[in-house]
Point group: C2
Amino acid sequence: MKNKIIDLTQVLNETMPVYPGTLKPKFEKSYSIDKNGFAEINMTLVSHTGTHIDAPCHILKGARSLDRFPVEKFIGKAIVIPCEGRSEISLSYLKTFEEKIAQVAFILFYTGWQNKWGTEAYFNDCPTLTKEAAMWLTNFKLDGIGFDAFSVDKMGSAEVITSETLPNHFILLAKEILLIENLTNLDKLPDDIFMFQCLPLKIEDADGSPIRAIATFE
Amino acid sequence: MKNKIIDLTQVLNETMPVYPGTLKPKFEKSYSIDKNGFAEINMTLVSHTGTHIDAPCHILKGARSLDRFPVEKFIGKAIVIPCEGRSEISLSYLKTFEEKIAQVAFILFYTGWQNKWGTEAYFNDCPTLTKEAAMWLTNFKLDGIGFDAFSVDKMGSAEVITSETLPNHFILLAKEILLIENLTNLDKLPDDIFMFQCLPLKIEDADGSPIRAIATFE
């Protein structure tokens, strides 16, 4: 590979941040070289731990799980849109990127939240798409959108889960636009189009999956 | 992507085969759309479940874990070597591929064992490298070797784990040649060189990781 590769993935360990109210992952060293001659970790984690994808069936009954998409779904051209310092990502702002959006399969939104990873402030409201911005994105042939933040919707709205409280999840997943959350290193990406990939584990009926997300470019 | 992509990964579920004596994975649907408004799986699995990588520190004390390699380690040129019907993979047989081996980062060995996945016969002795063949491979700049079978060593030898009973694990991991096990679809790969990737989850101190392995070619 002469291409440059950027790792867009947060580390998985027992002290990592998790979405409030959800289980912390466990990584138990169940076998060790000293005692057993080999090392093995027994891990317990939910399908939405760390850098991960939300599948349509995470929120929509009868919708597609990650294992029902071909692998091509998880690899494609991408751009990053800088959203640092914005409270919301508006339709008018997105329209300034329209020509590039029409050429890609993935949009990654750099909110700056990656710099709050590991602090309480990470779960403060991050810049999110307005409902009309999310609806406008469904006009394009997108495979997914990603954030260096915990969600595509505001945190406060998540206590009761409906299309009113988590509008962007419902709008985007209904169109099979995958949601990629807790990315990092989005500030290290080029201004131009690059290749992005977010292959999930091949879990049967996966409503989500932790991933190793990367970007490649020349 | 105009490239063709082949998924080389076995499905993860509760009925999948696991290495004899190790824990079966659990995928508990802990939240559901009907009850909670969203679906989430709580999963418990060991670091060597399904299609996975063995890191050097799986067997060798103080050796490198998967998270300590740059992502470039897991992506590179590859060939597949057909080994169906052979009881062992000998040095003289490997030498017939020497020119190609010198050009790639990964060698995938097609043993035909992928067709036994889900049957008891999967854990019968598969074709494995002779010790001298494994040692010869350390002369090349390989990042990893993969199999559509459960191990790079014979099963019977695994009861006590030493460099005598699992020679190929020790020889190859000492040179940081990663071992990729339980691949599938190796019969669908081209005769020529293709691109292979086996990105692990970014688990801290990972002695192994389940992966979504793919091959791409034009």
